[in-house]
């Protein structure tokens, strides 16, 4: 058995005749458009095609191994070789596509050995996840009767499959990395992707379009319902994360150079000095220069930093009304 395959040993008791789990599907490699080769994830039996660049056709080299235990699904006088054919079933639910790929050229009958073939997938025909599953299928009726599968076309053995990920699965998103951009850049996202994370409309932050579902929620024009409620909560949630980062980055710059370096950092100090956001961190009467100086001091001093981070999280939560939005979301959307 190839090292890159695994199989279950338990027989399938749901079948009304003898059935064996001794068919193993291995993937020996895959390549795109006849060129670049990819690496299978042998642990999870996944082909992560979405991690590679654009492609049109992928060729997947597979091996199908019939374990000696498979012999028990045939009467003694039927083989080897046995009247059956190994196949790999290709199934994509999203594009309504299902078919079988024959393995090897000379079947039936089939010996209990390893066969190799190539499964070719055209990107235009698939989306999301494609399952590859090995099966052994009878090609003649069986005169012996039960416990043997009586009819041609019946599957008599199978095994674990592989998952081909054509597209990035949404559940695999690794967080919401923030990207800071100059507002004058031409490559800025269009205005409809800008969402105010501040309570003051002139200050906008961006949710990038790499997360269509989130953008869709943030664009919800309604005032009530699941999406608007989720939008308010997400704005508060993103807002806390973002403000903590912005304030710490600004504080670090001030600690290092004595003043802010970028316009957005001056904007952060202005926000702290003129809105209640800063009241939780500094004297409520503190002006711009005082806030800038104090911010640099508290970030620069290790003995102050731990308390400052705690105060900062509290201030950001109060400022974005995080608790109120979370309570409102739970209150209105709980089942």
């Amino acid at each position: 058995m190839p090292a890159n395959t695994r199989r279950a040993s338990a027989a399938d008791e749901s079948m009304p005749y003898r059935y064996d789990d001794g068919v193993d599907l291995g993937v020996t490699g895959f390549s795109f458009d006849g060129g670049e080769a990819g690496s299978p994830d042998y642990d999870d039996r996944v082909l992560p095609l979405h991690e590679y660049g654009p492609w049109e056709v992928v060729e997947i080299d597979v091996s199908v191994t019939l374990d000696p235990s498979v012999a028990r699904v045939f009467p003694d006088d039927e083989g080897p070789p046995f009247p059956a054919e190994p196949v790999v079933v290709v199934d994509c639910e999203e594009t309504q596509t299902r078919y079988a790929v024959s393995v090897g050229d000379d079947h039936p009958p089939v010996e209990l050995e390893t066969f190799e073939t190539t499964v070719e997938l055209e990107r235009d025909l698939f989306r999301g996840t494609v399952r590859l599953t090995p099966r052994l299928v009878r090609t003649e009726p069986c005169a012996s009767g039960l416990p043997y599968a009586p009819n041609e076309g019946m599957r008599v053995a199978g095994g674990g499959g592989w998952t081909v990920r054509v597209d990035d699965p949404p559940e695999d998103h690794d967080g919401f990395p923030f990207v800071y951009r100059d507002f004058s850049q031409e490559s800025m996202p269009p205005v409809e992707l800008a969402h105010s994370l501040s309570r003051h409309p002139e200050e906008k932050m961006m949710i990038n379009d790499q997360h269509e579902g989130i953008v869709d929620v943030m664009q919800s024009g309604l005032t009530s319902g699941f999406r608007p409620n989720l939008k308010r909560f997400l704005k508060a949630d993103f807002g806390v994360m973002l403000w903590v980062q912005l304030v710490l980055w600004t504080g670090t710059t001030v600690a290092e150079t004595g003043t802010t370096e970028f316009d957005w950092q001056a904007g952060v100090v202005q926000e702290l000095a003129t809105h209640e956001f800063g009241d939780h961190l500094f004297d409520s009467d503190a002006d711009y220069d005082t806030v800038e100086r104090e911010l640099g001091r508290r970030v620069d001093d290790p003995s102050e930093l731990r308390d400052f981070v705690g105060d900062l999280f509290e201030a950001a939560q109060l400022y974005t009304e995080y608790g109120r939005q979370l309570e409102r979301f739970v209150d209105r959307e709980a089942p």
Partner: protein, 236 residues
């Protein structure tokens, strides 16, 4: 590289929460508000949409078939499904976007959907405009396109016509999991298109039972037909 228009989830919500549309037969889709929720999606595939020809075919069909009569409504579907499939030349990767079908239903073919489904007791008209990708029989434009996609044979749409001639048949096939294996969908339409709903139900039930042991994807269209005919003889 091509572009398609798709309705976003928020746009779908707007339709769901609209007080008038589609429950009020006089109300149109709230297109002005929905415009903000139409996204342009870049797709790597070649896409050709001949909407002019499609609109022409829809108008002609609506003039021919009396949508007040059940059998003529199914004939309308039967006539239009191949045309939708031909005029909306998209690969299945693109067709798997439900927002694509929702956009077409709301912005291009709402009058067809209203004529086909509006004002009928027990019909969820809203799902004919929206629907989901898992329920191919729900969104009407997707229903016509996918019904044809799963049953056409080269340039031959005979099985498509037969599938749509019987509403019970098309609903059953599009709701089944075997639909994904095209030879089975074609064989089902070819074999059962003249049968009563009770026979279709009985044959379909036994056929589905057989799939727990039969590896359907290794059976040819002829073999599936033979199996269905045997089951039909048995239940008849």
């Amino acid at each position: 590289m091509s572009e398609i228009s798709v309705l976003s989830e928020a746009g779908r919500d707007l339709v769901v929460e609209d007080d008038a549309f589609p429950s009020d037969p006089e109300a149109d889709p709230p297109r002005e508000e929905l415009e903000r929720h139409v996204q342009t999606l870049e797709v790597a595939s070649d896409v050709e949409l001949d909407l002019a020809r499609l609109h022409e075919a829809v108008e002609r069909a609506l003039g021919v078939f009396d949508t007040g009569r059940q059998e003529q409504r199914t004939s309308l579907d039967s006539a239009l499904a191949p045309v939708f499939h031909q005029c909306l030349d998209v690969p299945t990767r693109v067709a798997s976007h439900i927002g694509f079908w929702q956009y077409l239903a709301l912005f291009e073919f709402s009058h067809l959907i209203d004529a086909r489904w509006g004002g009928r007791d027990g019909i969820d008209v809203e799902e004919k405009y929206l629907g989901t990708q898992k329920d191919l029989y729900s969104n009407h434009v997707a229903r016509l396109w996918w019904g044809a996609e799963l049953t056409f044979d080269g340039d031959d749409y005979l099985a498509t016509h037969r599938l749509f001639e019987r509403q019970r048949l098309v609903n059953y096939v599009l709701d089944s999991s075997f639909r994904r294996y095209r030879p089975a969908a074609i064989a089902f339409a070819e074999t059962l298109w003249t049968e009563q709903s009770s026979t279709i139900d009985a044959v379909a039930s036994r056929f589905n039972d057989s799939l727990s042991t039969i590896q359907l994807e290794t059976r040819s269209r002829t073999e599936v037909r033979n199996q269905l005919e045997k089951i039909r003889e048995h239940v008849g």
